[in-house]
């Protein structure tokens, strides 16, 4: 496939790795923020091909993983109500809440449906005027334009039986939170290419300057990732701390302004709790007041139950990058993709699921 195969050429990957070995003289710790990039790095074993001393830490960029427990509980409570059709991206269905997951609601007769796009949820609402249709709007900046358009479309067509349960998070505040942590070891970041395709990368420029940390906007194929790591290491070796763009074919500095306009119209920036990390100020999106009628949290008075996480799960450390899945006693034994204890084992973008899928063996 064009734009995929040519960025998977093993010969060119070897050349990039040779170049990286020539450039790297000191040990450096680099974080890839996005779970999609974690997946490629682990599946292709890129982290194991890097020169000794170049360490990749896998960041919190898995929306399924960071959606807070209380929000999953709300989803489960709403989905269980009579007359509700609850729609969601597929990988949210098995995320454990305090008392169960959406699959369990479906098994008990609830109408829970997987949709590929939020517009599918709008279509379901149009076709079922006597039912309440709720869409679980999770994700980073990549899904926000789609989720915003679903709300705009519902408002435009006067749909009164459609609402969204919003749990949107933003990447730059997460990077800042990681850099502010006293035990932070990350010296450079690969920024998520598709987030930047939407938002551009001007937001990262003050972060790079203030924390003296290189940030390289990076694509998702093996050559993209190795080149992104090479560009980051080159900056670190030269003492530079700039925002550079490896993923030039898909990302412009100002991003997609039409998509940003839709996001700004429908959402406002708000504090968000990240599962495993805690509350980060101004780190997410909530519905703007003028679209409050589409807010499922207002339409359905449900409060999140807050029983704790499974005590065996170290998801918080995994999401902060301070420990690896293979450090966890439950990894691959009590916790597998079939019977996950925590969210990072569920989504294909979760670090634990990526490790398990690549056959990495636990050492705990």
């Amino acid at each position: 496939v064009k734009y995929l195969d040519e960025y998977r050429d093993p010969q060119l990957a070897r050349r990039l790795l040779d170049e990286l070995r020539a450039v790297a003289t000191a040990p450096w710790t680099i974080m890839e923020v996005c779970g999609g990039q974690t997946h490629t790095i682990v599946r292709q074993g890129i982290d194991e091909l890097l020169p000794a001393g170049i360490r990749m830490i896998h960041g919190p960029g898995c929306p399924v993983c960071v959606t807070p427990l209380a929000m999953v509980d709300k989803a489960v409570a709403i989905a269980a109500q009579q007359g509700v059709i609850f729609t969601s991206y597929g990988d949210m269905l098995r995320v454990p809440g305090s008392t169960g997951d959406l699959v369990g609601v479906k098994a008990r007769g609830g109408d829970v449906r997987v949709v590929y796009s939020p517009l599918d949820a709008v279509r379901i609402a149009t076709a079922n005027p006597d039912r309440q249709v709720v869409f679980f709007a999770v994700g980073f900046e990549t899904t926000a334009p789609a989720n915003a358009m679903a709300v705009l479309h519902a408002a435009h067509t006067g749909l009164t039986n459609f609402s969204v349960l919003v749990s949107h998070v933003l990447v730059p505040p997460a990077i800042t939170a990681i850099l502010d942590a006293p035990d932070n070891e990350v010296r450079g970041f690969l920024a998520a290419g598709h987030v930047c395709a939407v938002m551009g990368f001007t937001e990262y420029e003050p972060i790079a300057a203030r924390y003296r940390v290189p940030i390289v906007v990076t694509g998702f194929e093996p050559l993209d990732l190795i080149e992104g790591i090479l560009m980051t290491v080159r900056q670190l070796e030269e003492g530079r701390a700039e925002v550079e763009n490896q993923y030039v074919r898909a990302v412009r500095r100002t991003g997609n302004t039409a998509a940003q306009d839709a996001i700004r119209q429908v959402f406002t920036v708000s504090a968000r709790t990240w599962r495993g990390i805690g509350e980060i100020p101004a780190s997410g999106l909530a519905l703007a007041p003028r679209y409050a009628e589409f807010d499922a949290e207002r339409r359905f008075a449900v409060d999140g139950l807050t029983a704790g996480e499974d005590p065996a799960c170290i998801a918080g450390d995994i999401l902060r990058g301070t420990r690896l899945p293979t450090d966890c006693a439950a990894y691959g034994t009590a916790c597998t993709p079939r019977r996950p204890l925590g969210a990072p084992m569920i989504s294909a973008e979760g670090t634990c699921a990526a490790f398990y899928g690549a056959g990495r063996v636990g050492r705990a």
């Binding site: 060119l12 399924v64 990988d91």
Partner: protein, 90 residues
Amino acid sequence: VCLGTPGRILTVEAPADRPDLRTGIVDFDGVRRPVCLIYTPEADVGDYVIVHVGFAISRVDEDEAARTLAVIRAIPDALAAELGPDGGRP
């Protein structure tokens, strides 16, 4: 959720009264899906776009795509140089 995929636009259409509400059929290596093109007004039939949850969020710039590969190909191949032009065969 977050995985974007490049695909090639096969057809584009829009309602007569809302020319901005463009949708298209996009080919992902043989799998064809309807995609909303409202955020990529510059993308047309034959272009590659990055698609997330049914929406094109970026048009792939073919010149830049070629340039990235050219830069990587320009890195000298240390192993090939060591082995010589005959690939090290005796």
